[in-house]
């Protein structure tokens, strides 16, 4: 099989897999019940590209977020599940009918106020929500991604964690345990306050933190090596090769072991009543032409950088999880001009073989563009939260 240099799917040992060995994934139907602004809605999808078109505030992003929910068991936008329930109601439900490698997967997520969230796969409830992560991978590109540049390191760690967790359940387990040990250790520090927590009580948590920090650090390092390579290539392709985008991964674990970091910070931790050093302080830094993007890049450059970052994430998850993730493109024209959108769509049509959902505020700009590129797509017009009409376009060759 002929492989284009950009068609790579990096695996653990850096080898390249042909796309044919990757499982297909498609969302065939979605139904919502009291989810966000939807009283109830049901949609059916029959095309590899689905467009949600309508004015701002009609609920296009909410549809994309519903798909994200079925993939990650939570919203991309709110940490609190209760915020995703329709105003003045107590419960919400999302059901998705997927086809994964030809097998039907029926996923149902029920959210209730003040109750535990329930997730069912083919009518069977998951014991742990974490078990679901990675089964139906998706990547969302949204205007809110700007947080990755402007907000604190937590958002960038979340980006790394969300990516790695989709292909490594072991990583997710280490991460959850690390965070749990961190909360417990901070509680010990806090409860002794100015008196200073006795070392004897910190030791067991230090041991747990060190035990889980090492595999997290190693997996993040492996991920970063892949990300750096894939990102550089995607960025150069979608920005027309005019400028060079790069990333760096900063972690205190590179210079010292978690044990040493905790030892070094002992007194500081006692005074500040929290754990000041460790893998929970890792960060990613973004550069264009070696200049920090936050200070030196224009809005358009920042947007292109973020799109490339998310597409690199897509490529890595596809390569590692051996399934074509679902791509969710929210408000595609945000801070991007017509030419860039057209180039981006060309790139996506060429490289991405999975299902793509696109939202836009204009009724015809995306359909016209897709038609000119002879791509098959389907349209849902979104208005007044509930009313949905649709049409399907088959390309004429």
């Amino acid at each position: 099989m002929e492989t284009m240099p950009t068609n790579f799917n990096p695996t653990k040992d850096g080898t390249t897999d042909p796309l044919s060995s990757i499982d297909t994934l498609a969302l065939r139907a979605l139904s919502l019940f009291q989810f966000k602004n939807y009283e109830s809605a049901s949609l059916e999808f029959s095309s590899p590209i689905v467009c949600f078109l309508g004015n701002n505030g009609e609920g296009k992003t909410n549809l994309l977020d519903a798909v994200h929910y079925l993939s990650f068991t939570k919203s991309y936008f709110h940490n609190s599940d209760a915020l995703n329930i329709l105003h003045e109601h107590d419960q919400a439900g999302i059901t998705g009918e997927f086809l994964r490698a030809g097998n039907p997967e029926l996923i149902h997520c029920a959210i209730r106020k003040n109750q535990r969230k329930v997730l069912k796969r083919n009518h069977k409830e998951y014991e742990r929500l974490a078990e679901h992560i990675g089964l139906l991978p998706s990547i969302i590109i949204t205007p809110y991604d700007i947080e990755l540049i402007w907000e604190g390191s937590e958002v960038r760690r979340k980006f790394m964690d969300a990516t790695i967790s989709q292909y490594s359940p072991v990583y997710l387990d280490h991460l959850m345990r690390y965070n749990q040990a961190l909360s417990q250790r901070n509680q010990v520090l806090k409860s002794y306050g100015k008196m200073g927590a006795p070392q004897e009580l910190l030791d067991p948590w230090d041991y747990q933190l060190a035990f889980h920090a090492l595999p997290i650090f190693e997996e993040r390092t492996r991920f970063f090596v892949m990300l750096e390579e894939v990102f550089a290539q995607v960025y150069s392709e979608i920005s027309g090769g005019k400028e060079r985008g790069s990333l760096s991964y900063s972690t205190s674990l590179a210079e010292a072991s978690m044990d040493d970091i905790l030892k070094k910070n002992r007194e500081k931790d006692r005074i500040l009543e929290r754990t000041t050093g460790g893998i929970h302080k890792d960060d990613l830094d973004f550069f264009i032409e070696n200049q920090p993007i936050k200070k030196f890049a224009s809005q358009g450059q920042q947007k292109s950088f973020l799109i490339a970052l998310k597409l690199a994430q897509y490529m890595i998850i596809r390569g590692r999880s051996k399934v074509h993730p679902i791509l969710l493109l929210d408000d595609l024209y945000d801070k991007v001009d017509d030419l860039r959108v057209s180039n981006l769509l060309d790139w996506i049509l060429d490289k991405i073989k999975g299902q793509v959902f696109i939202s836009d505020t204009h009724i015809d700009r995306i359909p016209d563009l897709l038609q000119s590129k002879k791509a098959a797509f389907q349209i849902y017009k979104i208005a007044q939260n509930t009313c949905l009409s649709h049409s399907t376009s088959i390309p004429h060759h």
């Binding site: 078990e131 359940p169 072991v170 387990d173 345990r177 749990q180 040990a181 909360s183 417990q184 250790r185 509680q187 010990v188 409860s191 004897e200 009580l201 030791d203 067991p204 948590w205 041991y207 747990q208």
Partner: protein, 191 residues
Amino acid sequence: MSGLPGIGRKTALRLVLELLKRKPEEVKRFSEAFIQMREHIHHCSICHNLSDEETCSICRNASRDRSTICVVSDIRDVMAIESTEQYKGLYHVLGGLISPMDGVGPSDLTVDDLLKRVGSGEVQEIIFALSATMEGETTGFFLYKKLQPLEVKISNIARGVAVGGELEYTDEVTLGRSIQLRTPYESSLKR
């Protein structure tokens, strides 16, 4: 009654209405049984298991192996291990697991009593049978640090694939841990 765990207001009401239907003598016998239970059952002075005497039936049993102590967090764990009929040693009930977020520190557990028992010299092996949770493992580590200077053999119950379980259906984390903590084949031949 709704102050009891697992009983909400509706269940409490149901129980009260049911008690009101019963004959007074019956309810009296029932409440006396409660009082008897509360007055006579207390914690074993050695291992903190439940007992109606100063020491529990396991600690009193002369045929139990007094050189081995199995450390558990809860009395229900004693019951669970006893029902396996695989263990002939003694127990030590901690009364919980270390969890600062729930306000449980080592001083809330029976750690000092365990150290005293081990220090008395009769004990040769300590087995940790604690939950495979963060809190269980942390409590194990804390005890290990405390017991280490006492020169006693310390072991942990095995973690891994469930008996009768298929590898394919074992989650990655458990299976990964089973590979890391693999045991010599000969030990699986011993019965």
